[in-house]
Amino acid sequence: MSKVLMKGNEAIAEAAIQAGCRFFFGYPITPQNEIPAYMAKRLPQVGGCFVQAESEVAAINMVYGAAGAGARVMTSSSSPGISLKQEGISYIAGAELPCLIVNIVRGGPGLGGIQPAQSDYFQAVKGGGHGDYHLVVLAPSTIQETVDLVRKGFDIADQYRNPVMILGDGMLGQMMEPVEFKEAKPRRLPPKDWATTGWKGDRPRAVINSLFIDPQVLEDHVNRIYKKYEEIKANETLVECYNCEDAEIIVSAYGTTARIVRSVTEMAARKGIKIGLIRPITLWPFPAETLRSWAQRDHVKAFLTVEMSMGQMVEDVTLSIDGLKPSHFYGRTGGMVPRPADILAEIEKIRGVNL
């Protein structure tokens, strides 16, 4: 297939449809409104169903019902809406239901703003809702990668029976880039013989549930889920290392911020400073091993994490490099985007201290 020029949000929606998603439940919020609008138009054309729910709370519970009924289903929202969805997300994780949740992050806290941000990192990767669980969190940095990760996200969700989140930002959602919808080779996925489809007696009775009143049974249930997480860590961790081979300073960034840092590496090179970029593509599972292995190299003197937040992913970077090298942070927040010159200035400052 040839490339088409598409807005990030619309590309997400089209990619979902091409991945076989036929059900979408959502509630309007900027800056992700193009996703539900696209779904409302396209889903009826392909035999699917779009419902504008009365709230994000209802939307995520519709996702719960549809996922429990065996469908490929998604929802999308932006920060305040994702906060409302947290109870439902926890139930979905507890009941081990597959679905895709898109968060086109905007500045916070509270009503915050509508400009791009990365300040929902903690919420996305550390739980967000109550209880012991993780989402698989995918952080694309181009529209092409977004499209590829949407399909992969649905597959990961189905394979492990776990909710998957695409963590984007307003910039990614709103910009236009050429994309190709590739024919992906399908994964071998387990049958959804656990779904509520009407019980004819040819399988155990399906019960979608996250209540286990006996503490030992609940502990066993959570332990089983955490075994699954170990498999996910081993099989699905994705990271891009760029220019790290002889880097003095490694900058970690994801999503939109990683694009900016990539341009900084060239600016730095012109000044004779060797900068590498480590770009986690899965924020959970986090590519801790990769970061640690670079931290062990002698040529790497320091790490800098750049985010559109007050510093959230930096905590995982610091944990990963485990004191082997100094860990610095630079960020803008509230919808402000870090400028390449300011990142470079930060790098020069660190270089003065560490080298």
Partner: protein, 245 residues
């Protein structure tokens, strides 16, 4: 010997955990008998609430989903949109449906979701130990209205059936009681009719069942049945509130 009484096939063998004199069990049986009679057990997906009936997924002998507190109508919407040919019902208490889940029930009804809601109005939060519900009667004492519910501060008991009947999407709404045999028979008829309306694709259907909670009302089972008759029915009039053509 001919069998004169047997457990409906639509109930599992699991012993129910309800308190003595609680009418949740009676309503379960009525729903199960309806599923048997309409021969829909294999095509029915039920949704259990958060409340005393949370374990309904262990009692109804069909595919079941357990929903978050109040969200059963949203969960039902998701299921019904995926399987429009299946019968989908929610079973919800008054805290679940009329308080935390008020938005979900109103909008499911307004969209005309082709589901059936069995709404257990026992004028109290049973599961959490007897707190005030939106349906708690004026002057009724609960652990969170220890001086009796007062209209000035707690508002009035909410008549959900009448409220929902005002919505265009609602196809069949009836309030029934299960305090004696005659009323149990009427309740059964209403439940069956609601399921039939759903199967006919007419829209949203709901049966509100006035129910007892002897444990948290601090009454004997017999006193509880009398209280439904003498206090609940006068405020919550029985009958069909909406019947679409």
């Amino acid at each position: 010997m001919a069998k004169v009484f047997q457990k409906p096939e639509s109930l599992t063998d699991k012993p129910m955990h309800y308190c003595p004199g609680c009418t949740h069990g009676i309503v379960h049986r009525l729903v199960a008998e309806t599923m048997d009679e309409l021969n829909i057990r294999q095509d029915t997906i039920g949704i259990a609430p958060v409340g005393c009936a949370v374990f309904a997924y262990d009692y109804f002998n069909c595919d079941m989903q357990e929903a978050a507190h109040g969200r059963a109508p949203a969960v039902a919407t998701g299921i019904k949109r995926v399987h429009p040919d299946k019968v989908v019902f929610t079973y919800q208490g008054d805290g679940d449906l009329a308080s935390i889940g008020a938005a979900e029930i109103v909008h499911a009804a307004n969209r005309g979701e082709k589901i059936t809601t069995i709404f257990i109005n026992n004028a109290i939060y049973g599961m959490t130990g007897g707190q005030m519900a939106p349906t708690t009667l004026l002057d009724q004492v609960t652990v969170t209205s220890p001086y009796g519910r007062k209209a000035e501060t707690e508002g009035y008991p909410i008549r959900m059936s009448e409220m929902l009947a005002a919505l265009e999407g609602a196809a069949y709404i009836e309030r029934v009681s299960v305090h004696d045999i005659k009323h149990i028979m009427q309740a059964k008829k209403a439940i069956k009719r609601a399921f039939e309306y759903q199967i006919a694709g007419k829209g949203f259907t709901l049966v509100e069942v006035l129910s007892t909670c002897p444990t948290n009302w601090g009454m004997t089972p017999a006193e509880s049945l009398e209280w439904v008759k003498n206090h609940m029915i006068p405020y919550y009039p029985l009958g069909v509130k909406k019947e679409a053509k």
